[in-house]
Symmetry: D2
Amino acid sequence: MTEKGKTRPNEKEIKVEGHLIDSMILTKIWNRIMELGGDFETIEFQVGKHKTDPSYARILVKAQTPAHLEDILREIYPLGALAFKIAEATLVPAPADMVFPDNFYSTTNNPTQIYLNGQWIPAENTMMDKVIVVNPHAKTAACKPIRDIRKGDLIVVGEEGIQVKPPERSRESTGIFSFMSSGASSEKPAITIIKKIAQDLHNFKKTDGKIAVVAGPAIVHTGAAPALATLIRQGYVDALLSGNALAVHDVEADILKTSLGISLKEGVAAVRGCRNHLVAINTIYRAGNLKKAVEQGVLKSGIIYECVKKEVPFVLAASIRDDGPLPDVITDMVQAQQKYKEQLKGVTMVLMLASTLHAIAVGNMLPSTVKLVCLDINPASVTKLLDRGSTQAVGVVSDIGTFLPLLAEEIEKLNSA
Amino acid sequence: MTEKGKTRPNEKEIKVEGHLIDSMILTKIWNRIMELGGDFETIEFQVGKHKTDPSYARILVKAQTPAHLEDILREIYPLGALAFKIAEATLVPAPADMVFPDNFYSTTNNPTQIYLNGQWIPAENTMMDKVIVVNPHAKTAACKPIRDIRKGDLIVVGEEGIQVKPPERSRESTGIFSFMSSGASSEKPAITIIKKIAQDLHNFKKTDGKIAVVAGPAIVHTGAAPALATLIRQGYVDALLSGNALAVHDVEADILKTSLGISLKEGVAAVRGCRNHLVAINTIYRAGNLKKAVEQGVLKSGIIYECVKKEVPFVLAASIRDDGPLPDVITDMVQAQQKYKEQLKGVTMVLMLASTLHAIAVGNMLPSTVKLVCLDINPASVTKLLDRGSTQAVGVVSDIGTFLPLLAEEIEKLNSA
Amino acid sequence: MTEKGKTRPNEKEIKVEGHLIDSMILTKIWNRIMELGGDFETIEFQVGKHKTDPSYARILVKAQTPAHLEDILREIYPLGALAFKIAEATLVPAPADMVFPDNFYSTTNNPTQIYLNGQWIPAENTMMDKVIVVNPHAKTAACKPIRDIRKGDLIVVGEEGIQVKPPERSRESTGIFSFMSSGASSEKPAITIIKKIAQDLHNFKKTDGKIAVVAGPAIVHTGAAPALATLIRQGYVDALLSGNALAVHDVEADILKTSLGISLKEGVAAVRGCRNHLVAINTIYRAGNLKKAVEQGVLKSGIIYECVKKEVPFVLAASIRDDGPLPDVITDMVQAQQKYKEQLKGVTMVLMLASTLHAIAVGNMLPSTVKLVCLDINPASVTKLLDRGSTQAVGVVSDIGTFLPLLAEEIEKLNSA
Amino acid sequence: MTEKGKTRPNEKEIKVEGHLIDSMILTKIWNRIMELGGDFETIEFQVGKHKTDPSYARILVKAQTPAHLEDILREIYPLGALAFKIAEATLVPAPADMVFPDNFYSTTNNPTQIYLNGQWIPAENTMMDKVIVVNPHAKTAACKPIRDIRKGDLIVVGEEGIQVKPPERSRESTGIFSFMSSGASSEKPAITIIKKIAQDLHNFKKTDGKIAVVAGPAIVHTGAAPALATLIRQGYVDALLSGNALAVHDVEADILKTSLGISLKEGVAAVRGCRNHLVAINTIYRAGNLKKAVEQGVLKSGIIYECVKKEVPFVLAASIRDDGPLPDVITDMVQAQQKYKEQLKGVTMVLMLASTLHAIAVGNMLPSTVKLVCLDINPASVTKLLDRGSTQAVGVVSDIGTFLPLLAEEIEKLNSA
């Protein structure tokens, strides 16, 4: 046994605190040490006596060489381990605009702090796969992507002086997040799930939570646009993040009663239907943009109409497969990411509805603390989106065309209750 | 040009009649001839002047050798072609029980007639991949599987004297079948589809059509069982074809309020939930069978309960993955197929709901003239089931848990209209 | 704090031992207590100092009422918890043939022991969702399905006196099982996976492990049958479990060079191809059965041929969608399950190849200690099959038609190395 | 019967020519007339006697009102119908930049001609969902998207004077396109398909065809990048169209031997693997761009490396989910579409490999005359991409990780043959 904190060069004492067992924090740390061929000794273990007590562990990590030790530590720090003797974080200036120093620290989506001059500084804008830029004078730190790096920015390198807080299992949450921990499946009682989500939305709205919706064009194709429009009108949506197709077909549905040329009332291909989305695009170009189309009385209903009327911000990001795209669509992807991030600031719950591309983009921008409901008819899409290691995310495999009208019905009941 | 009917040994005149162009009959025949490296000459072509007029074509098929010609003819006869000079069908006795003669004719699922002694005899029990057994004295013919063949049965061999009627594009059908010809997709207006199916069911019921439902256990897991129970109670189901799991979970839902151990009201795993389906099975074994359980007041609601009360026949076929299975379940597959076929006699419409195994079994037993709606959340399952080359089949990619309650709502509206 | 073992009626002391943290045993127990609204106090916790040391915990479970306590205990015993003071198991005779007593204990697929007369008796034939029948005189116990129960059989009821050993994370396994713990995905390095599986098969063969293959007909359709035939011929398969379709198309491929009528060499529909599988069936009926067909020289190559030549037992179970089925196919499902179980006795590794129905059946019959590789092109099928809470199971999402030839190539390299 | 060309206001004579029956041209026209509630009379029908002879039909379309007639004609002209008396196309100037005139004609992806001043002018840049801008003096016409429209551009409106040539069934094509007409399926003989595609690529290369590849990042994740790199080095790729992720992981694979942090050799998560793609991005930013990284010897192998060495143009389009993106990636979508189109000029064959977003973008840009092979492991993705109504497109459902190495093997055999 080693003295407290005194270790050989291929050994290091770490500590870890929190709901170690039920949140699987210790499980993950031990597993990763063993996967990497390392060994460990538990020096101290104080288990929380009661379910709300945190546990505490002091562990001696043993590697074959100092380099091997370095490897292991790099992997377990992001899982919540902390050096027993906390070292200061190392900062290295960026060698050029848009270039990181070599040994840069890459972020997770979990809350992270930097130890600097004897103080913990939280890193803002928690996001995955970014670097942390520190302003030591202002005692601030923020996650930044490569394109925002300027020469001389002080960037955290190595793994020391960084503390990551993995998400802990919620002990009191209610609604959909308390009851669905087992991943996405289509074989769950659908109406029950819908009721729980309705209840959550209702609670979030009452407590001034911020709700963002990421929406795919299938909402319009499947005839569910009026249900989403209702949710917006009733104040359940604080920001809408989407792409060109949603807006195009939403306009098409309003002015021509079709989506991708299919009559929404009859379900059959309309006459000249295949040019209808071009008519929608042309109509908006002629009006100037979507907002002007609403103001001019050209656009009279639908998802975008309700956003404009209710002053709910919407951000439409282009993609290379777009027709048009509409004048409102941001064609530069770096700028579009920026606009998405602005709208996601302070968000407490996100609904991802039948969207893949834009939902993945949003997923990459969210900290693990944001509640997330993700719906798609393709289980693989849901799995891909939920792969964030968080109990804050719930997947639903269902048909947006039947799901959203039933959700609007349930919310109506809660409103009138 | 050849004389009428007079051809060289590697040529043969055929004729074909019907809505050749819009039902793609001629397209398929020509394509197959070309694929096989053959050639053809159109001797006569009378196109239907008006949309209800049949067309007629006389075609000289040219092959490289007599054997090649034989190959081509074998392929185009089942597509609706007929030898210009109709030959008599050839009958050969089965050499032993459960053995076909060598050159046996294998059926399609299209209506088929046999030319014998100058008369056309329709083959009964139209089904795919069977042989035709003829009784020349009674002037009857029937499709039979290999296990039903007895030594000496007269079986049609070769391709002569057989006429197949491929399905023609319906010119007047309404409801769901008239508007969805484009295959399965989840990106269709869902509520519209549900209204059309409700209308079709309503019409079929009023006109004394026979409706069979093939049902998978996901109906119970997703909380849609009460909706199906309602349809049965209201007389929309004339036969239920399913397996062990549907009945087990239907009983479990009634007596324990769970399905596969998941609480249907709360959506969470119930205490000791994983043994609940065994409790359901044990309950039925104790009662004797499902019918007795209803009579004894043990089983008080659900799909099976309504079938028993309404005297709707249900056939439950075992599969190798079954727990139990229930005493009502037919464990011998040959016998189960027989029972299924009995219930499918005279059926005019079949709903396949979130079932794969039993739906494929039923699909194999149906003639192409039966209307078919097939719903699953997995598009690949729907495609597999619809692969019958018929405009009588409609695929819906949706979530049974939201679809069926909305369908029951729509039918309720029609009932009270 | 309570005295050792002394508790109030709504409290109970339990203990649990093993690799509690890295195998997530304690995580699961604590989570389940909290989910059920219970509370707990850790009385003693001895953590394994080194990675091979087991941990030990003594926990006081607190419920609101004695019934609530009962509920919680029922849920955590199968997770590995054990009453601190071990009680004897309770045995109740079956009230009738094929009827369980009311409070029967339902098995998991983990190794289980029964405490009786001061002794632990292991339950044989570990399988999910069965009851345990005990012979107190012979001191034996076995898992049995409902159809095998006879009046008077002594069946374990309640949750006392039963110990379940959940699978522990392997610390030394090699090959495919050590490196893939993260579930099924198609985005893994395919050739690497194939090499690891080849290595595992090679090792299992050398160490006299018993390897069973569950095979679906897509193996034949995709042209991979020769690769499987090679594996059989080289001794890599000790039992083949499948259904009618695999054998039918395997015969078709040998005698007609097609699978479902598609030419395996050209990939196009063969002339009269759609009757080819009936020809295959008829050929086997005429020969008598598959073995006789090999002996008579009728069947000259393929999967079944190699099984017959190599005397590898094969079990073919019917399903309701079968054509024929072949004379070798077991049409009664209760009997087919029995035959499957016989072949699975003592098996150490199972390959499930592009099979769904029969793979689920086999999955239900296996204890959690058997190594399992499951391959399908549909990720949903793989997920469904792997849902066994075991690190012994590996899912591969790939195309059997390209996967199996590459696997055979890799094994060839190992054979000649 | 009407006089030649003389019709009532709700009737119109049309003509249609080509392989009307086997290419289903007439089938589609008749079906659409009937779907829209119209009627028709066949005035003349000359069927091609031999398989290479075109057919010819003169049809009187009858509607209920002149407006109804207009509707029907709008739908059947794009299917290949032509007014019997050809009218001149109508041209209307664009009212403003990026605004179409109201009744604009929307293009299909089929070859199209405009009748102007008694002459047929072909429309260049055949693409779906565009308008046709005509230069009457230069006698040229071109398909253009809305963003390229300038005030005063003369745009074709209405449906008169436009002739569309739907694709005809190929009568002589070989290789993969001749044998797979039946849509995508995973149940085809895989090795056979691979051989056919290899043969086609080989033939196209020999005859100076231009081959473009659309590639997704799964190629790198599954370890298939070396196979694609080989095809590029051997001259089988004339243009590479992709996105940020493919290039990032291709660089990561070269410099760190991982893809998304997974070791390509071992298949396990590498130490600090999750930051590896950021290291790759940072490496390229430091080098300047991909080309410079190759020139500086930083990037030494892989897909991009071979493109640079072989001077094969590659276009990388951004998407909103990108990390980085790399300096070479075009972040503006309008510009990216332009660059894609430039590379697709004159292309004769396109391989779409495990790509969805970029593949759909390319699909929208291609005329129906380009040969297309589309591979994905998800059948829904393949179906979506192939939905172009052309026999020139072939879908393959397989695993890119096993498919591409086997394809490279087959091409090697052809090279050395």
